[in-house]
């Protein structure tokens, strides 16, 4: 959790808006530090989190979250965090091993026409249970975090199937269960990606669906060691609530600092 980002977004673990669909995207930069921010933020806020780890292993998030002050293993044991280790299970599923995971969550790797229905059922099962079953503690609103959606395009899933999946998730989690949803989409330059199965197309469609968009980009002047890029934050509301702001950022070992463009300590 980054305190500066919390103050920019006017949210804190005690007080945050519910029913939000937050879209993280990047171009020529890496927005995964924001995923770590949201993971630790919602775990601190005592929400029930379902995390789809499609690109990195659990230990990576665990080591980083430890440094940010949250213990992921403990959260998993207590039932607060449901982590889908999709990356590590994928070779077994792709090669058709008998001993591999038989759950339907990884169906997008299996069938000839990959679709994400199995993944949606997994998300629904993990988040729809109210905290009162045998759990001693009741958790807050459910949260779904996806890291990241554009890797599904590389695996052969069509952009339409991904949009269906996000639409279903948004309808259940944000509207029905009053929870939140965070997704990361990684894109390339506009000039290369012009067809329908590109991540740019996916990004445009998802920006229309989301309620808050954080776009991370590299600096237009090139690579700099002290300023890692800029973030454009777009609150998509109606009327006055619709506003955009741009900040430049630098990521450290234990967090990230955000500042207005041109006011980095390296430049002044």
């Amino acid at each position: 959790m980054f305190p500066e980002l919390n103050s920019i977004l006017s949210s804190s673990p005690e007080n945050f808006t519910e029913g939000e669909f937050i879209l993280l995207s990047d171009r020529q930069a890496d927005a995964s530090f924001l995923i770590h921010h949201y993971l630790t933020f919602y775990l601190r806020a005592r929400c029930r989190v379902c995390f789809l780890g499609l690109v990195q292993s659990f230990s990576h998030y665990s080591v980083v979250s430890q440094r940010l002050g949250v213990n992921l293993t403990q959260a998993k044991e207590k039932g607060q965090l449901v982590f889908l280790e999709a990356l590590k299970a994928s070779p077994g599923v792709l090669l058709g091993d008998e001993s591999s995971d038989k759950t339907a969550a990884l169906d997008y790797l299996r069938s000839p026409c990959p679709e994400l229905r199995g993944l949606y059922e997994f998300v629904w099962n993990s988040l729809s249970r109210a905290g009162g079953e045998d759990a001693a503690e009741s958790w807050g609103p459910p949260v779904l975090i996806i890291d990241d959606l554009s890797v599904l395009l590389s695996l052969g899933v069509s952009a339409g199937a991904i949009l269906d999946f996000t639409h279903y998730c948004q309808a259940t989690i944000c509207s029905q269960l009053q929870g939140s949803m965070i997704a990361l989409v990684r894109c390339d330059d506009e000039e290369y990606d012009e067809d329908e199965e590109s991540s740019n197309y996916l990004l445009k469609a998802l920006s229309h669906q989301c309620s808050l968009s954080l776009r991370v980009e590299g600096l237009s002047t090139g690579y700099c060691r002290d300023i890692h890029g800029q973030v454009e934050i777009w609150w998509r509301g109606r009327g006055i609530k619709n506003q955009r702001k741009i900040f430049q950022y630098k990521v450290h070992d234990k967090g990230a600092s955000f500042f207005a463009p041109g006011t980095s300590r390296a430049v002044l």
């Binding site: 890496d30 530090f33 770590h36 990195q56 292993s57 230990s59 990576h60 665990s62 080591v63 980083v64 430890q66 440094r67 213990n71 992921l72 293993t73 990356l87 590590k88 299970a89 994928s90 070779p91 792709l94 090669l95 058709g96 790797l109 990959p114 554009s150 890797v151 395009l153 590389s154 695996l155 052969g156 990684r186 390339d188 290369y192 990606d193 067809d195 590109s198 690579y223 700099c224 060691r225 002290d226 890692h228 990521v251 450290h252 070992d253 234990k254 967090g255 990230a256 006011t263 980095s264 300590r265 390296a266 430049v267 002044l268």
Partner: protein, 382 residues
């Protein structure tokens, strides 16, 4: 900080405290194991070496000469450190490629004493015997150097005794039988199956007896995506097996994460027609580096390039187990190949921009022509 105990016994991202150190690797502060890529300049550019469990992608230069060289350095480093090798190539026979590995330059004690063998002297017969014993010692014992990263002499081939001591696995598509199973992996299904079998059989993923000495597997995959693998991503804008290469890299990275292995993959990026595929391939790797060699005319016309053989672009530096790795100073690097060294140097210096450079002291030294001297230390004061 107490590292959480994981179920997988051999995950490379766990702190291996208390266990014997694997040769040719070292621990970094972030509970990661790193190993050398064979070229010390490349190790520095990637922030200390290759992380065990990660994937390095090399975009080949036009003639595939320098990328093939980096692959040879990578495998030779594995031989010297005693790791196991896995080499897959569709163009050249992997066994021939292994015979061609360069000879390491080792300056250990054994080499110097054997070169200075004293003439026969009956009075100092005992010391003579010790020197003769060093001379008769096989080369493989001399090769057990515990240094991190070595230099290789390209004019000599590696000794066959050293090569025989190392365990290696190869994959050469013309010699493999092809099963006609259509999966999303396309032409790479056999390769992935072979890699998974080797990892499991040799116990790199933790399966196997506890008493077995842990070792690292180095995978070298040459020219993935080229037409010789049966993939048409290099000559078609909308290939039929469009997702075969990306699915394979995704599954390969998953295999690497759960085992003690490191992979170097070279891809003929200049042939890939659809640039979106190249972007996806880079994002699916942990570290990505592109080589661009100069033609002889470029070297003569541009004075900046005359000392070097090509440019090295760092596309991506891995940041595993941390929010952000140590960012490199600048990304404009050039390489130069000499007989004994593949050196990577900065092409030019970046502007002197740093948070610790103090500018207030400079302002105080000047006599202000306009108004009072600056008193505060806030950066916005003029």
């Amino acid at each position: 900080m107490a590292a959480p105990v994981q179920n997988t016994p051999c995950s490379s991202f766990r702190r291996s405290g208390g266990r014997a150190q694997i040769r040719g690797t070292r621990n970094t502060g972030r509970a990661l194991l790193t190993t050398s890529s064979g070229a010390p300049g490349l190790d520095r550019a990637l922030g200390g070496g290759l992380v065990v469990g990660s994937l390095l992608l090399i975009e080949e230069d036009q003639n595939d000469s320098y990328s093939r060289l980096l692959l040879q350095y990578f495998l030779a480093e594995g031989v010297v450190s005693g790791h196991q090798l896995y080499l897959a190539s569709a163009r050249d026979d992997p066994d021939d490629m292994i015979q061609d590995l360069p000879c390491p330059i080792l300056d250990d004690v054994g080499l110097s004493s054997s070169s200075s063998a004293p003439p026969a002297d009956t009075q100092t017969l005992d010391t003579m015997k010790i020197a003769w014993r060093y001379q008769n010692l096989p080369q493989t014992e001399l090769a057990s150097s515990s240094r991190f990263g070595h230099c290789y002499d390209l004019s000599k081939r590696m000794d066959t005794r050293m090569l025989q001591a190392v365990q290696r696995h190869t994959f050469y598509p013309p010699q493999e039988k092809t099963d006609e199973q259509t999966s999303s992996l396309g032409p790479y299904a056999g390769l992935l199956k072979s890699i998974q079998t080797v990892i499991h059989r040799e116990g790199f993923d933790g399966s196997g007896s506890e008493g077995k000495v842990r070792n690292v597997l180095r995978l070298g995959l040459h020219s993935l995506g080229s037409a010789l693998w049966g993939d048409d991503v290099c000559f078609s804008e909308s290939p039929d097996s469009g997702h075969a290469l990306t699915t394979f890299l995704y599954a390969l990275r998953a295999l690497l994460r759960s085992s003690l292995s490191v992979a170097m993959v070279t891809v003929p990026a200049h042939l890939i027609q659809n640039k979106a595929v190249l972007g996806r391939v880079v994002k699916l790797s942990d570290a990505a580096v592109a080589l661009e060699s100069f033609s002889s005319s470029e070297r003569q016309t541009n004075p900046l390039y005359s000392d070097y053989h090509g440019l090295l672009h760092i596309r991506q530096v891995p940041h595993l187990n941390c929010l952000m790795c140590e960012a490199p100073d600048n990304k404009d690097l050039a390489f130069k190949l000499r007989r004994k060294q593949f050196s990577i140097e900065k092409l030019h210096l970046p502007p002197d921009l740093s948070e610790t450079v103090s500018r207030v002291s400079k302002a105080k030294g000047e006599s202000p022509a306009c108004g009072s001297a600056p008193t505060g230390h806030t950066p916005l004061d003029f």
